[in-house]
Symmetry: C2
Subunit: 320 residues, 2 copies
């Protein structure tokens, strides 16, 4: 399959308004009065973020969702995306068809379309780079800065499951049931960013961050940007039954979950007065949301278990 | 140098408005009433688009300019860009500093700033992927479609020089003077897309395309999108003295120049009534612009030398 056949057969069916059928030099994002555009780019690579034996449709969804997660954390409504592929010779037409089918499913689920992209051959690992665009009401993008003393700290979903799934792939020993094992692997392969909930956080959240490096590292970004201290109750960090069965429930297990990364959840702060509204929005969006701490004057993240400061040697994933 | 040091030391000084200091989950492109956004993405890879011995500042500029060329062809004013790097272990801090210096120079020249990006380590070749954004008056992006019978066909700059430079790197024999050799190599390493001229084409051009695959291939895109035939006078295709000295002036030399690719010029069509205005804008922008043919009813590209149809076995570069 040459490049033109690939565009026509595989990717053109994914193209939406503004893509110009993937047949022009640039895509078009039409002016939308009263809205700013949030833009994010993230790449995933074989051997790091997914494996050659992972189903191609899930690889596609992960590539897209790690970007949608950034948009969700900023309160942006997803609009579209660009797709850049570096393809090694081992990639087949069948693989690409399944990859595109995964994108098509997520396009329906999240309301986005393909706007454009670029493909190249490589002798290196398969790399999938996506740039995603979302609209946010003018001047109201939720930033990492903005947390104030007295605000509560929240996190969506469960933390550490993806790290558990990766550990299983890396042959860490366990005695999990098949269902729990599959649950953790499933979360590593397929993040579930709370996209709809993100758009409900305008006017509720004071600051927000995508949890991807590791919860403690990402809360550290909020602390630094806001010039505040975040005091976190380690016992409150939401962990699944599957992960507790795998890693246990002691101090080391909690720290491991809170530093594993790849969660693609949202951590955010909100004034205490907004607590009921936050929980109501979470229920409407069917997103588990847990209050895990509070904002104080100061700096950094304090990770406390029963009032005792836990040592965290490495707050999150370091890319290199 | 870890990822955070790289962002702080190398890339933060390049960041502009909307980048949020490269310290948030997404960048922001603020609403600009009355303007659409043109978006394009192109990657360049070591061994294909540049070589390991090329100066890092020129590699940076080429990565940016191949994208600015797309914006220019659409009549868009460059605004900003995202930078994604896949870095092999051989890349040093010095190399990155020089790379960033090249970007800084081009940011000043073309009026763009860095909005965000992503970096990853790779065992494969160095790959630089840029997504560029430009504003275009609402509803007025110049498309590949839109050429009409009787329109004239134009091309900016010189065609084939970059292909000549690449041939020299590939050790094709020649007896060029050092100055001519350097001119061709210089054009391969550093495209000069007519960015300012592109923004003058609103209301003048009926269709336009970035010349990157090869002049005949790219004119073919205009012919196909417009549902027209483009009749090109091969003798009129603008070629530099350096390239004539290298490849000669016969039929084969002209076809080779018109199919070499990597030119990063603009080919466009315009009603004959606009000819004087086109040439006046070209003079104001100090961009050589040559009339090379006309649009007729029909399909495809006819490449004629003294009225005789030239055989073109491969109209342009095929990526794979």
């Amino acid at each position: 399959m040459n490049e033109f056949e690939m565009i026509t057969n595989i990717f053109a069916p994914l193209a939406g308004e503004g893509s110009l059928g993937l047949k022009d030099d640039a895509a078009l994002i039409a002016a939308r009065p009263g809205f700013d555009l949030a833009v994010t780019t993230d790449a995933i690579a074989e051997g790091t973020d997914f494996f050659a034996f992972d189903p191609a449709n899930l690889v596609a969804k992960k590539a897209l969702r790690v970007n949608l997660s950034d948009l969700a954390a900023k309160g942006a409504s997803p609009h579209g995306y660009l797709l850049s592929l570096a393809l090694p010779p081992s990639i087949t037409g069948d693989w690409l068809q399944t990859f595109a089918a995964g994108l098509a499913q997520d396009q329906g689920q999240f309301g986005v379309t393909l706007l454009g992209g670029d493909t190249a051959r490589t002798e290196g690992p398969l790399t999938i780079s996506i740039t995603a665009f979302g609209f946010v009401p003018e001047g109201r993008m939720i930033r990492r800065q903005g947390a104030s003393p007295g605000d509560a700290v929240y996190v969506t979903g469960m933390i550490g499951d993806s790290g558990g799934g990766l550990a299983i792939f890396r042959r860490e020993r366990h005695t999990l049931t098949e269902a729990w094992r599959d649950a953790l692997i499933g979360r590593y392969r397929l993040p579930e960013p709370p996209v709809a909930f993100g758009t409900m956080l305008h006017g509720l959240a004071s600051a927000s961050v995508d949890v991807s490096d590791g919860l403690i590292a990402d809360l550290g970004h909020v602390a630094l940007a806001s010039g505040m201290k975040l005091v976190i109750d380690a016992a409150a960090v939401p962990r699944s039954d599957a992960l507790r069965a795998f890693w246990g429930d002691d101090e080391a297990a909690i720290v491991r979950a809170a530093t594993a990364g790849d969660d693609y959840q949202i951590a955010f702060t909100a004034p205490s007065a907004n607590h009921d509204a936050v929980m109501k929005s979470a229920r409407e969006a069917a997103v588990t949301t847990t209050r895990v701490g509070r904002v104080e004057a100061g700096e950094g993240v304090e990770f406390l278990l029963e009032g005792r400061l836990l040592a965290v040697s490495r707050p999150g994933y370091v890319h290199f």
